[in-house]
């Protein structure tokens, strides 16, 4: 009997060890690809072109679509900052999604908008449009509509605009002035093939911000925000460079993504019935364009700054929503998983998301409890337990530190060695205890998903530093 328990304990432990190795090995592979892809983009960056792209008559028109719901406090600053983007040909489409505060009034008053007073002459697949306001001096439009959620608001802008490209931006994020031109580069290189591109999302907490511009990049006094700074570097920068490099990018952040307008219209726009509409849209685009010569690309240099949660409750709510959204998207498009027809997306990206991003944290969660418990009970020997820690924590830390290395070699936003040392410290803490806490949140999210609880409440924001 004792022998049987011992064997089961060993088999289970080896299973968890193998799964941790699979998860971290998968991430390591993605990181290595990101380093290779990065070399290619570095060459473009080193060769400053001999012309001014802003003067080129070939820049495609872009509609910057900003859904706004109860954004009264920040909306004027956001619009001011967006009106100063360095791009030759763009219009700003703010969609007031039935705000209950004075978001609309502030926009109308500040930017001297006038109502058109007539129904929109094209069909907008969204909740009823109450009025469209235009500025006669600037390329600024505000669509005032009944509340229908973020995806519904985005659809209003996407189907309203005449521009061939649109850029979806969160109202509470800060986009860098030159970012629009940079994120449009793949469209400029291959207009017929590029379907969507996305820029990097970085953590604004702790940065100095003046008039909607990040003037000094730094870390926050809040440990949770700093953990997310490293996490964003690892997952949203290095991870996406790697996935994009192999042609398997599945997420373009809703905070900053550029799309071919007719492609998104062709697939029916954003889904209003999914939790994470940004990921679902990208997977749907992959499904739609499978078998054709198309690209969904990540561009690491342009940056949008966003405020991340500084309290565990709010962060847990956000992560729970993301996890449920991923499960929902994977379930919705389960017939694509493992199918050759969908190329890299079907054979690598979706299985990677299923086994590493979705099942991974759940298996990890059990492993974090079971393996130490078996060790304490004397069913595992010291070398095995130490190796388990090495694989779970050591390789994880290696990945985070590689992401920091990638950042200081290629992007240099965090310049001070002291800040880099702090980031490395948080890179270790990301894997003990932050990762274990996230595994716990993933389990709670799974339970909520299975129960059909999709509500996620309000995200509390403390506002940007000034």
């Amino acid at each position: 009997m004792v022998v049987a328990v011992d064997s089961v304990a060993w088999i289970a432990s080896w299973f968890f060890l193998a799964y941790f190795a699979l998860v971290n090995g998968g991430y390591l592979l993605i990181h290595l690809v990101s380093l290779l892809s990065f070399e290619r983009t570095l060459r473009d960056w080193l060769l400053d072109p001999v012309y001014h792209p802003h003067n080129s008559p070939f820049l495609p028109g872009i509609a910057v679509v900003v859904p706004a719901y109860n954004e009264s406090v920040t909306i004027v600053d956001t619009v001011q900052s967006l009106l100063n983007l360095e791009y030759g040909n763009y219009e700003l489409v703010i969609v007031n999604d039935g705000s209950r505060d004075d978001t609309l009034e502030r926009l109308v008053e500040t930017f001297e908008l006038e109502p058109v007073g007539k129904p929109v002459p094209v069909d907008l697949p969204c909740e009823e449009v109450r009025e469209v306001y235009q500025s006669s001096r600037r390329d600024l439009v505000v669509i005032d509509k009944e509340n229908g959620g973020k995806a519904d608001a985005l659809n209003a802008g996407v189907f309203f605009t005449d521009q061939p490209l649109f850029c979806a931006i969160d109202a509470d994020s800060l986009i860098e002035r030159g970012a629009l031109l940079e994120v449009a580069q793949p469209f400029l290189r291959a207009p017929d093939r590029t379907v969507a591109t996305g820029g990097t999302v970085r953590v604004a907490n702790g940065c100095s911000i003046s008039r909607g511009v990040v003037t000094r990049v730094g870390l926050s006094r809040n440990a949770l925000a700093n953990l997310q700074s490293v996490e964003y570097l690892r997952a949203f920068l290095s991870g996406r460079i790697g996935l994009s490099g192999v042609g398997g990018l599945l997420i373009i952040s809703g905070a900053f993504g550029l799309f071919r307008t007719d492609a998104v219209r062709e697939v029916g726009g954003y889904s209003t019935s999914t939790i994470t509409e940004d990921m679902e849209l990208i997977v749907r685009l992959h499904r739609h364009f499978a078998g054709t010569d198309y690209r969904v690309e990540f561009v690491p240099r342009p940056v949008v700054w966003t405020e991340v949660p500084e309290s565990r409750t709010v962060l847990a709510r956000q992560r729970s929503r993301w996890f449920q959204g991923m499960l929902e998207t994977l379930w919705l498009h389960r017939d694509m998983i493992g199918r050759r027809r969908y190329g890299v997306v079907g054979l690598f990206a979706l299985p990677f998301f299923l086994f590493v991003e979705a099942v991974g944290p759940l298996v990890e969660g059990i492993g974090y409890v079971l393996v130490p418990l078996l060790f304490v009970l004397g069913l595992l020997n010291v070398p095995f337990f130490i190796l388990f820690l090495g694989v779970a924590v050591g390789i994880g830390t290696l990945l985070s530190w590689l992401a920091v290395l990638n950042e200081i070699v290629g992007f240099r936003r965090y310049r001070e060695p002291r800040t880099v040392a702090t980031l490395l410290g948080y890179g270790l803490l990301e894997h003990v205890p932050y990762r274990q806490w996230k595994a716990f949140v993933s389990w709670l999210a799974l339970v909520r998903y299975l129960r059909g609880e999709h509500g996620w409440g309000e995200m509390v924001r403390v506002g940007f530093d000034s």
């Binding site: 058109v116 929109v120 291959a190 017929d192």
Partner: protein
């Protein structure tokens, strides 16, 4: 077994420690380099500016006296200023490049085995507007699309005889590669005032070009002039594309023709009826753009026809906007959709700009 487990653990820890230490060390080195570069910038930039306006800059002596990092900053600064300055100051900067041997190094780097070096050389040569022989460019720069684009830029910048012809030929090399936006801009600059080079090449070789390059060529032609008596013969090629299978090519051809709207005989040759009845709404929209350029009685009648009959909301809107922009009266609505379009165009306070060719 136990030993192997320990070895695996040690490897992981060692790799992590190496990456961590390396990252920290690199950040310290880079921070130190940046501080030194910043300090050098404060010295070098004012020195360059004062020499630019002084009587005898003595570039060579001054450059020889600089430290390695100061030389690096000086080269970067000159490259930046060459992009911005014109006239006497620019000439002085090119003399600096000559005095310190930048142009010679750039020329010799064209034969480098490293693509990055070749591209860097081409960037400098374009900035310095230094001509390079056709033979040398063909020998070293035709292997890749990026180097061909760089070489074409050098040809354009140095304004050699037959620059438009040679540069255009480099860019449209084998007709298989679509152009980068930099190459597209170069093609436009080469043909801006006189598109004869692009039209001639397209007339003889355009048939074999792939669709993407063809659309790009048409996009460029929409912004270029084609003066001279031979215009009609050259433009004949665009007319044949109006019957192309691809709607993108048909739309591109219509937009390219809009640049030649001044010619009445060319106008007469455009099959307007077929264009406004095209099954693809993007082609019809391009036709309305073309008619809007004409701004005469015939085009007005066709635009009114488009407003009344186009089944696509967006194309109808484009026709109505073109009419409104030409200060022509919008037709009386005959149905609800037309009424919505007309009401909207009459009421909107600002018409959005639109860049569509090759995109939608």
């Amino acid at each position: 077994m136990t030993e192997r487990l320990w070895i695996a653990f040690v490897v992981i820890v060692a790799a992590t420690a190496v990456v961590g230490t390396g990252t920290l060390a690199l950040s310290i080195l880079l921070a130190r380099f940046e501080r030194r570069r910043e300090a050098a910038r404060h010295v070098v930039r004012p020195a360059i500016l004062s020499r630019l306006h002084g009587p005898d800059p003595e570039w060579e002596t001054w450059y020889d006296g600089l430290s390695r990092i100061e030389r690096h900053v000086a080269r970067r600064t000159v490259a930046t200023y060459l992009r911005r300055l014109r006239g006497r100051e620019r000439e002085e900067l090119t003399r600096f490049a000559e005095a310190v041997g930048i142009d010679e190094r750039a020329r010799s780097s064209l034969s480098s085995r490293l693509v990055l070096n070749r591209l860097r050389g081409l960037v400098w040569l374009a900035l310095l507007e230094r001509p390079v022989s056709r033979r040398r460019l063909r020998e070293y720069c035709t292997g890749r699309a990026e180097t061909r684009a760089g070489a074409a830029r050098v040809v354009y910048a140095s304004d050699t005889p037959h620059a438009a012809r040679d540069g255009t030929a480099l860019l449209c090399w084998d007709g298989d590669d679509r152009l980068s936006v930099f190459a597209l801009d170069t093609l436009y600059r080469l043909n801006d005032d006189d598109a004869t080079a692009l039209l001639s090449l397209a007339t003889t070789e355009g048939t074999w070009w792939n669709e993407e390059l063809l659309v790009q060529a048409l996009t460029v032609l929409a912004h270029c002039r084609a003066p001279g008596a031979e215009t009609e013969a050259h433009v004949e090629w665009i007319h044949t594309l109006l019957e192309h299978d691809s709607p993108r090519i048909r739309a591109g051809a219509l937009v390219a023709l809009s640049r030649q709207s001044w010619s009445q005989s060319l106008r007469r040759r455009v099959p307007v009826e077929r264009a406004v009845a095209d099954p693809d709404p993007n082609v019809r929209t391009a036709a309305y753009e073309l008619l809007g350029q004409w701004n005469d009685e015939t085009s007005t009648r066709w635009l009114e026809y488009g407003v009344r009959n186009d089944p696509d909301d967006r194309s109808r809107l484009a026709a109505a906007r073109r009419l409104s922009r030409s200060d022509r009266a919008l037709p009386d609505p005959s149905s609800d959709p037309v009424e919505r379009t007309v009401d909207w165009v009459r009421a909107e306070h600002r018409t959005p700009r639109r860049v569509a060719t090759g995109w939608s």
